[in-house]
Symmetry: C2
Subunit: 214 residues, 2 copies
Amino acid sequence: MGNRDRIIIAAKELFNLYGSSNIGTNKIAAHLGISPGNLYYHFKNREEIIRTIFPEISDATDAALTLPSRSGLSPEDFGDLMVNWIQLVWKYRFFYGNLVALLRKDDLLKELYMERRDKTLSIMQTAILAYSHQSSENNIKFSEEDAGKLAKNIWIVALNWIGFLQVEKEDQDITFTDLLAGAYQIFALMEPYLDQPTIFTVQSQIQSRLEAIK
Amino acid sequence: MGNRDRIIIAAKELFNLYGSSNIGTNKIAAHLGISPGNLYYHFKNREEIIRTIFPEISDATDAALTLPSRSGLSPEDFGDLMVNWIQLVWKYRFFYGNLVALLRKDDLLKELYMERRDKTLSIMQTAILAYSHQSSENNIKFSEEDAGKLAKNIWIVALNWIGFLQVEKEDQDITFTDLLAGAYQIFALMEPYLDQPTIFTVQSQIQSRLEAIK
């Protein structure tokens, strides 16, 4: 593996452990036992490293949101989505736990992020409308506007669950289990639209996914 | 008015305009035309100023959450609550827009905040259960656990709506109108539990409160 790839891997690890604001390029170089000059040859600064990681975060977001190709969403799919999403936020917690500060330091990253956010919100809105259509016998009907609001609320809770935890704990004390409680918290946003057996099935699916991960 | 009160007023104004991390005690002193030593006589540092402001934020939170003494919540009350809450976040946006960072700098403030948060969540949970009881003819029933989850989601969206805006705009470009769109966004969390006429009444109440403010 070349130094460029090693730098990216080490940066993600160190950022997640200590917070990106506490890890500069010199610390990454020292961690890898390479010279600051060698690192500088690949990346001019921390912002450039984070911007280089971003497409990976974006691809992982697409993967987390990928729905089964058969038509319609099953309750199990809902459960999978919640857990996938929380796993994503955990994997890139240095990014989601410090979003506003990072975007304010880098206009280019901000532009990429905004595009990504709009894409994600649109995928979620479409999924909600599709589910609403599929379940029309249960009298669940969303207008486009309502589906958009629900998607935005899911987004806000999903990304800020880590902020909710950060108030109580330091970053290094937040565990994957803490974050997984967020899967239930996000799912609570959808519960009012689902009947009791469906809710039970989704919660069981979340539970069994979590047990498989432990 | 004594210098102590003038310092507090100037600090709130400058923090909201430029962000608390960009305003130190020297800038506050210069703004007031007093010496740094005079300010230091009243407050040792920025953290002490923010900690002194906190009880005011806490009292304003109680006021924003105060429900009419008659029993039961009307749709208009719901609308008022949303607008009150957004006004609160706007008034103290330096605090809510930078919460994690501020609490991490001051353990004492963190303790006060956590107590406040738990109190607010408990008031909201109680209100949701009371409403659920009142509306039992409409088949809206919450378990304590569900009411707790809804309260927490309302809290997360209400406090992070400003963060959602901060991704798109600099603090000084965020307007009261931007923030007020959050009233509808928070209310969307409650819509699935309410019938269509109630939703319409709440939205009209939000609308007319907003027009009165403009």
